[in-house]
């Protein structure tokens, strides 16, 4: 039952195509990308909870949201794969931790919150940064250490920040971001902002003592903190069952409630985060365990296949890929055609390629940048280069 439809100009204003209908239309549809007619979708699996109720498996969504999910996740996927190539071409140096496979967590979370809510993450932060509004140019330029990078080239892959969207990084020390996130929640409560903080950490970080210290204080002080364990089942090369006596991370909060969520299902993530935000504002900290998966190894130095089988990786890709899930949903609800989705992916490829080309042209920081931002207020003191008789600077 093909219906004619106008392929809409998408929200990023590409040229509109007009499809010739194969048979006469019964009615004209509204443009897909702005259609907000509610659609109800069931999550892949029900939620499991610890010390709290579970949210409903039925998630409200609409065509616009699903198309946005598809586009955003496909963009993130393409971006991370492009970063892989850039790293192998030695344009990205040092550490590079890729998020492909985990996109649903970033995208689902963002859909449930506002920019007043804070997010803090560890070093696998490229996609979370983009979800918070970061641009591709800022990502690639930062990865290549250029001036147009989000940290002007001074941070690198692990240190992306976007304060105006309340994204606080970007942290290299495993686990440190959790107390920091609870501190953000403290400040939100102190300032009476009626907003929450999502502190993301992995299954490896879940055993960190400081996490429990921060959770204890958050529970005592009723802080609006949501601890999100992105459980991709491997802490670097160590499987969760080798690192955690209890890998039921959503239960590890003990007195703090927890929810286990299919992290490959963007709608389940959205539902859980909405639930968690409401909970945290009223009742204090809650843990969300996102059952997710990373296709790449821990970082670009890790092939990711010495501690997992290739079958496992392909299996997840076939059964649970977050982008494919949304594609199937869109197609089964007739919200777009396969060709339209492929066209979106082509656009994305071009966007990514353009951003990389632009980033490659972008210059490295000026030498004087070595000495900027050491302090917010440098007091005019002197700082030194390797040869202090040769290179000195006054900190502004």
């Amino acid at each position: 039952m093909a219906l004619s439809r106008l392929a809409s100009s998408s929200s990023s204003s590409r040229s509109a195509d007009l499809l010739k209908p194969l048979c006469s239309a019964i009615s004209l549809r509204r443009p897909i990308s702005t259609d907000t007619t509610p659609i109800t979708v069931e999550t892949s699996v029900p939620f499991t909870s610890h010390q709290c109720d579970t949210p409903s498996r039925s998630v409200q969504t609409n065509a616009k949201e699903l198309l946005t999910f598809f586009r955003d996740m496909a963009l993130m996927r393409r971006m991370e794969i492009a970063a892989d190539s850039l790293y192998k071409a030695k344009l990205i140096r040092g550490f590079c931790h890729l998020y492909d496979g985990q996109e649903a967590v970033a995208v689902g979370m963002e859909a449930s919150i506002t920019k007043k809510d804070c997010i803090i993450a560890a070093y696998r932060d490229h996609c979370t940064f983009v979800a918070r509004g970061g641009t591709l140019l800022e990502v690639f330029a930062e990865l290549m250490g250029r001036q147009a990078g989000c940290s002007r080239g001074k941070g690198g892959s692990m240190h992306f920040y976007k304060k105006d969207s309340n994204f606080y990084g970007g942290h290299g020390i495993v686990g440190a971001q959790v107390p920091l996130g609870c501190g953000l929640a403290f400040a939100q409560k102190y300032s009476k902002d009626e907003a929450v903080t999502f502190a993301l950490y992995g299954d490896g970080a879940a055993n960190q003592g400081q996490l429990f210290e921060a959770l204890n204080i958050s529970a005592l002080w009723d802080l609006p903190a949501i601890l999100v364990c992105e459980n991709n089942h491997y802490g670097m090369g160590t499987a969760e069952w080798r690192a955690a006596k209890s890998p039921a991370y959503y239960k590890r909060g003990d007195y703090a409630p927890g929810l286990k969520v299919d992290g490959m299902d963007a709608l389940a993530v959205k539902q859980a985060c909405t639930f968690a935000k409401e909970h945290a504002l009223k009742n204090g900290p809650i843990i969300l365990e996102m059952d997710t998966y990373r296709y790449h190894g821990h970082s670009m130095s890790d092939p990711g296949s010495t501690y997992r089988t290739r079958d496992e990786i392909t299996g997840v890709r076939q059964e649970r890929d977050p982008v494919e899930r949304i594609r199937k949903l869109i197609l089964s609800h007739d919200l777009a055609t396969e060709k339209e989705l492929k066209d979106i992916e082509k656009e994305i490829r071009k966007e990514v390629d353009d951003a990389i080309a632009q980033a490659k042209e972008n210059p490295l920081p000026e030498s004087s940048e070595l000495f900027t931002n050491v302090y917010a207020k440098g007091l005019g003191v002197e700082s030194f280069g390797a040869d202090r008789k040769e290179v000195r600077a006054v900190l502004p």
């Binding site: 804070c118 803090i120 940290s151 002007r152 080239g153 001074k154 941070g155 240190h159 920040y161 976007k162 304060k163 606080y168 990084g169 970007g170 942290h171 290299g172 020390i173 440190a176 959790v178 107390p179 920091l180 996130g181 609870c182 501190g183 953000l184 929640a185 403290f186 400040a187 939100q188 102190y190 300032s191 003592g209 400081q210 429990f212 210290e213 921060a214 204890n216 204080i217 005592l220 002080w221 900027t372 931002n373 050491v374 302090y375 917010a376 207020k377 007091l379 003191v381 002197e382 700082s383 202090r388 008789k389």
Partner: protein
């Protein structure tokens, strides 16, 4: 109370002893006296009153009135939302403090002693000190970490370390160490107002000492500049640098040396990072001799940095090798006689000064 240093009057031949604790300086006939504890408490009070973003956090800072009573009365005045008692979890609460600073609040985090800051040092260095740089200025961290530092009396190896050198080596931190009440007020206020992370190293044995303060110091707008040392006493023969408790020792030493015709210039560093190299070098260019004094471990210490700075900037002005007086290169022992040997004494500083002035001194017997 423990032994309090008595200050000799300059150029007088009599001792003035007051029944209570400390001695008025001859030049401040009508000055008010306040203890370092009162100075710190009033500074916290005034800064909390002036800026609602300032809040206190730490073990026993609230209901207990402060382990050393520095935060006395502040819970009653500002309430439990601004004076927060934490569990004994330094890594957790320090991280929370830094996160609050990321958002724009101004936490003052107390470590019961800086020995416990080692449990939280990752947050001080990696989360606080480096964030402004890594984010190219997006995330500044207006936090103060304060508490007693260095040796107390008889508290043993795990409770006696001085952390000045460790923290001062880290770019992105500011490290301050007050000596007297004026320093305590002015520097703590400056630290709280400063937009960068400040490590504020107090001294337990100084908390109860009284010092004269002028009306200007008592005013709520009083503030000292960060990065500027103070010349506590001018001299022409030898420069002595010190911070915190050792400033009192250095002043005592300068009086003793004067009897032998040696006029020492005593510099109270106040700021370990940024270090006031300019004041130190100007002084050494005048006196041509330098003694650095600190309580902490000698290797890679504050004195080592001062010595290097002077050798680099003022080599041709030195008439003698730079002398370092520091704590002994051992963990702090408990027995009173050994403890006495593990921290600098006045005699040590006098001896070093005389060596620098090429006055013969009988060699001390080594153990």
């Amino acid at each position: 109370m423990l032994a309090i240093a008595r200050q000799r009057m300059l150029g007088q031949s009599f001792k003035k002893i007051l029944p209570a604790v400390s001695v008025l300086r001859s030049y401040s006939s009508a000055a008010k006296q306040i203890t370092v504890r009162e100075a710190l408490n009033s500074a916290l009070d005034e800064e909390m009153s002036a800026d609602p973003k300032v809040f206190l956090m730490g073990e026993e800072v609230g209901e207990y009135q402060g382990a050393y009573k520095i935060t006395k009365g502040l819970l009653e005045k500002y309430g439990p939302e601004r004076v927060l008692d934490t569990p004994i979890t330094e890594a957790g609460f320090t991280g929370i403090g830094v996160g609050a600073a990321y958002y724009g609040l101004k936490p003052v985090v107390e470590f019961m002693t800086f020995n416990f800051s080692m449990q939280a040092i990752d947050h001080i260095i990696n989360s606080a000190a480096k964030s402004n740089y890594m984010s190219a200025g997006q995330i500044s961290v207006p936090i103060v970490f304060r508490g007693p530092n260095g040796a107390a009396a008889g508290v043993g190896a795990q409770h006696s370390q001085c952390y000045a050198a460790w923290y001062a080596s880290c770019p992105g931190l500011k490290v301050l160490s007050p000596y007297n009440s004026e320093d305590a007020r002015g520097l703590l206020k400056a630290a709280i107002r400063d937009p960068d992370p400040v490590v504020f190293l107090e001294n337990e044995l100084l908390y109860g000492e009284s010092f004269p303060v002028s009306d200007e110091v008592l005013d709520s707008s009083f503030c000292l500049p960060i990065g500027k040392a103070k010349i506590e006493r001018e001299g022409k023969d030898v420069t002595i640098t010190a911070f915190s408790k050792m400033v009192g020792y250095a002043l005592k030493v300068s009086e003793m040396l004067e009897r032998d015709g040696i006029y020492a210039e005593v510099i109270n560093l106040r700021s370990i990072r940024p270090l006031d190299r300019s004041t130190i070098n100007t002084s050494v260019r005048k006196t041509n001799r330098l003694i650095t004094v600190e309580e902490g471990f000698p290797q890679h210490g504050v004195g080592a940095e001062i010595c290097a700075s002077v050798v680099e900037e003022s080599f041709s002005y030195l008439d003698a090798p730079v002398e370092r007086i520091a704590g002994a290169d051992v963990p702090m022992p408990y027995a009173a006689n050994l403890e006495r040997m593990a921290v600098p004494q006045v005699e040590d500083i006098v001896r070093a000064a005389k060596r620098a002035c090429y006055r013969s001194v009988p060699l001390a017997a080594t153990a």
